[in-house]
């Protein structure tokens, strides 16, 4: 039995040591390589001046042609929309941008059904994990994750449970400095042609009373002198958005509604425009906000 116990202890020691070593190597790589995602890009961006920043989900990433908006407005524009991100994630992005002494003149924020959710999603869960020692990230996430202490103190746990996003594959690509599909310094990812049809459905019939993350963003913009512009991205004809958007506009009167006026052949699927649709939307958004953007 003694021999067995010794053997088990040695395996446990090897396992625990491996966990610590892997955690340290992964963290070192993710925090020091050329950014492959937008959160890494934000954390590595200091003392910059941006005329326009877009925040939102994939309905920003795939919809705002950064270079086109830049050309039309003649202003330095950056698309920081992230697939799956909610308002809470956008709040974290904004906090990090400001903490790093970046100067933002105008912030375009996509608001639609993401108003219903106050919890962190995609970015916070995975892309923020290597930066748990960053004070802003730590303060932001500790309020939302029940397992925050596990994430912080159990070695490699944060990488293991987020393996699709920051597992070995992403680690390896970061290590060899493989170029990301999305260039975080531009941020626009156009989608292919081809409308994927879905059944007719509607957005929620009722609306949340408030969204604390959005209120927090509004407060930050007010105190940091950032001109905040809120807008809705388009939906295809098979989505009944009328009731929800009407309620949303009642709650946010200055919300710019561009949810309609796009043929289905401009969509990749019902909530995402294709590249032609994205160009049209970028132009329309520029036109709709031409008098609202500050210099």
């Amino acid at each position: 039995m003694k021999k067995f116990i010794k053997y088990i202890i040695s395996i446990l020691i090897i396992t625990i040591l491996s966990l610590y070593v892997c955690d340290a190597i992964y963290t070192q790589v993710y925090t020091s390589v050329t950014p492959r995602n937008k959160l890494q890009y934000i954390i590595n961006t200091n003392n910059e001046k941006f005329d326009i920043i877009f925040l939102g989900s994939s309905r920003v990433t795939n919809h705002i042609d950064t270079e086109l908006f830049d050309r039309l407005s003649n202003k330095k524009t950056l698309n920081l929309g992230v697939e799956g991100a909610g308002l809470n994630d956008n709040l974290l992005q904004l906090k990090l941008l400001i903490t790093n002494n970046n100067k933002i003149s105008n912030l375009f924020l996509q608001v639609d059904t993401n108003f219903e959710n106050e919890n962190p999603s995609n970015i916070s869960i995975s892309e923020a994990m290597p930066f748990l020692r960053n004070d802003v990230v730590q303060n932001h996430l500790s309020n939302h994750f029940e397992n925050f202490n596990y994430l912080k103190y159990i070695p490699f746990y944060r990488y293991a449970i987020n393996d699709p996003k920051i597992g070995f594959r992403e680690f390896f690509f970061s290590l060899i400095n493989k170029k990301s599909r999305i260039n975080p310094a531009i941020g626009f990812t156009p989608l292919d042609e081809g409308f994927i049809s879905t059944n007719f459905h509607s957005l929620p019939k009722s609306i949340a009373n408030k969204n604390n993350a959005l209120n927090h963003i509004i407060n930050i913009c007010n105190t940091s002198n950032i001109n905040l512009i809120l807008f809705i991205s388009p939906y295809c004809s098979k989505i009944d958005s009328d009731i929800y958007i009407k309620q949303l506009i009642t709650k946010i009167p200055n919300l710019i509604d561009l949810s309609k006026g796009y043929d289905d052949d401009l969509f990749f699927n019902c909530t995402h425009l294709n590249s032609r649709g994205a160009k049209k939307f970028t132009k329309n958004l520029h036109k709709a906000t031409i008098n609202k953007v500050l210099n």
Binding site: F4, I11, T15, I161, D163, F168
Partner: protein, 478 residues
């Protein structure tokens, strides 16, 4: 309780410590602890179904005793039939009731008659197919006087419910497991270390190989309409490794766990993808089920002793029943039938016992002939897996049609799960090399590099494992 869960990581050491420290001196205590732990292990999933297992245990224990007291042949046969009816009746109700209702409805509607009957809302108790077959083997062996019936209810309960193999096998024989339960187990260090190695290797197969393959295979099978032939071929290969990693991984963990308690379970997998023909494949895949059907169905039906025609019938029966055992769906039955068709030419030409040893025994590489025959067998097996994996027969046929259209446009397709297949192919090739290297052993941890291999597997488990979604073992659904 899943083997790859945090709960089990706590449960196993606690039971292990209690077993060797508290109940070490007494056989009755050892067996009682096994029963208690096994019922806790099973009840963790759904305590309501404990009564079903207890019922099955009581029935077969009582019938075993009744058989020992009964010398009249007719009465003995009646007792055997009673056990078969009760056990297979319970299994049939929980597993096949809806299948028969749906098929009756379809058959009647074909003749213009509509039957208004609703399907039952039935939960399939985990492991029911496994422990039912295990208890049946006991009653049949007692009936055939190959085994003395036990009068020790605790020992019998431990045999039925032994937690390492309770929910997905190996399906143990009473003749093999009960004698081990009758004797007090003593701790054997080498056996226990071997058990730990098997658990680690089983976890690697499940968490690294099977769960990684599952992500890709699920994506390809769920959107097969949009996939080219290359992706469909890869999807079938991924599923082949998913099911192998999943089920043989489970078996390794079960056998390894059992070794920690001083009990040896039968080997369930012997590197089946290195088989040179389909007969060899079935001697190496889910061995405990194949041999169960051989001993309790094929041989009683006459086996290969009668005319060729009778032998063909028997072969088809065991393959079709084996398919049906896996699930109440025509896809499983066709899968069984397809394997019978593969098997027949080998059987007719008397080549079904040609390849009894492991391929290229004592050599590093196989020869060209072995390589070709292994490749052909693997291709046949993956065609079968397409039926096994598809949700319906029409999907399986469409999948194969698209696969055989040889449309390689777009090459390796990017999957919406943000993965390229090439990455997984590298992992699978490494795994196959690892398995090939250890094909004459129980697990890869042998020889002078064993500690290095152990560290590699631990590192692989940490960095390559899929932990974002803890997946059930596939065979739990059977």
């Amino acid at each position: 309780m899943l083997f790859n869960s945090f709960d089990f990581a706590i449960f196993l050491p606690v039971v292990f410590i209690l077993y060797w420290l508290l109940t070490n001196k007494n056989l009755k205590l050892q067996n009682s602890l096994i029963v208690l732990a096994s019922y806790l292990f099973y009840g963790w999933w759904d305590w309501r179904f404990l009564s079903l297992m207890l019922f099955s245990t009581v029935i077969d224990f009582s019938i075993g005793i009744a058989l020992s007291k009964q010398e009249n042949k007719i009465n003995r046969k009646l007792l055997l039939w009673l056990s078969l009816l009760i056990n297979l009746g319970i299994l049939g109700f929980f597993k096949y009731a809806n299948f028969f209702i749906d098929n009756f409805k379809t058959a009647f509607s074909f003749f213009g008659n509509q039957i208004n009957s609703n399907s039952f809302d039935i939960i399939l108790p985990v492991g029911i197919s496994f422990y039912t077959f295990q208890t049946l083997s006991y009653t049949i062996d007692v009936y055939n006087q190959k085994l003395e019936p036990t009068k020790n209810f605790i020992a019998f309960s431990a045999f039925v419910s032994f937690f390492p193999q309770l929910v997905a096998g190996p399906i143990e024989r009473a003749t093999h497991l009960l004698p081990q339960i009758y004797k007090k187990r003593n701790f054997n260090t080498d056996n226990a270390i071997n058990g730990i190695h098997l658990i680690l290797w089983g976890l690697f197969k499940k968490i690294v190989i099977a769960d990684s393959c599952a992500i890709y295979a699920n994506e390809i099978f769920s959107s097969y309409e949009n996939m080219n032939s290359l992706s469909l071929l890869l999807g079938a290969i991924y599923f082949a490794f998913q099911i192998y990693g999943d089920f043989s991984g489970y078996s390794d963990i079960a056998i390894g766990t059992s070794k920690l308690f001083g009990v040896d379970l039968m080997t369930n997998f012997k590197f089946p993808y290195f088989s040179r023909d389909i007969a060899e494949f079935w001697r190496r895949w889910h061995i405990s089920l194949s041999t169960w059907f051989r001993d309790y169905l094929y041989i009683p039906l006459g086996g290969s002793k009668g005319s060729k025609l009778l032998s063909f019938r028997n072969i088809f029966i065991i393959f079709l029943v084996s398919g049906f055992w896996h699930g109440a769906n025509w896809t499983f039955i066709i899968w069984g039938g397809l394997n019978a068709l593969y098997f027949l030419p080998i059987f007719i030409s008397n080549r079904n016992r040609n390849n009894l040893n492991i391929v290229a025994q004592g050599k590093i590489f196989p020869n060209i002939r072995e390589l070709i025959s292994m490749s052909i067998t693997f291709i046949l097996v993956i065609i079968g897996w397409i039926f096994f994996r598809a949700k319906s027969l029409s999907i399986a046929i469409e999948y194969i049609q698209k696969l055989l259209s040889f449309n390689f446009e777009k090459g390796i397709q990017y999957l919406s799960i943000e993965r390229y297949s090439i990455e997984l192919m590298i992992l699978i090739v490494c795994f196959v090399i690892f398995e090939w290297n250890s094909r004459e052993h129980e697990h890869p941890f042998f020889g002078k590099w064993r500690y290095l291999k152990l560290i590699m597997v631990i590192l692989g488990l940490i960095t390559l494992g899929v932990y974002s979604s803890i997946a059930d073992f596939i065979y739990f659904q059977f």
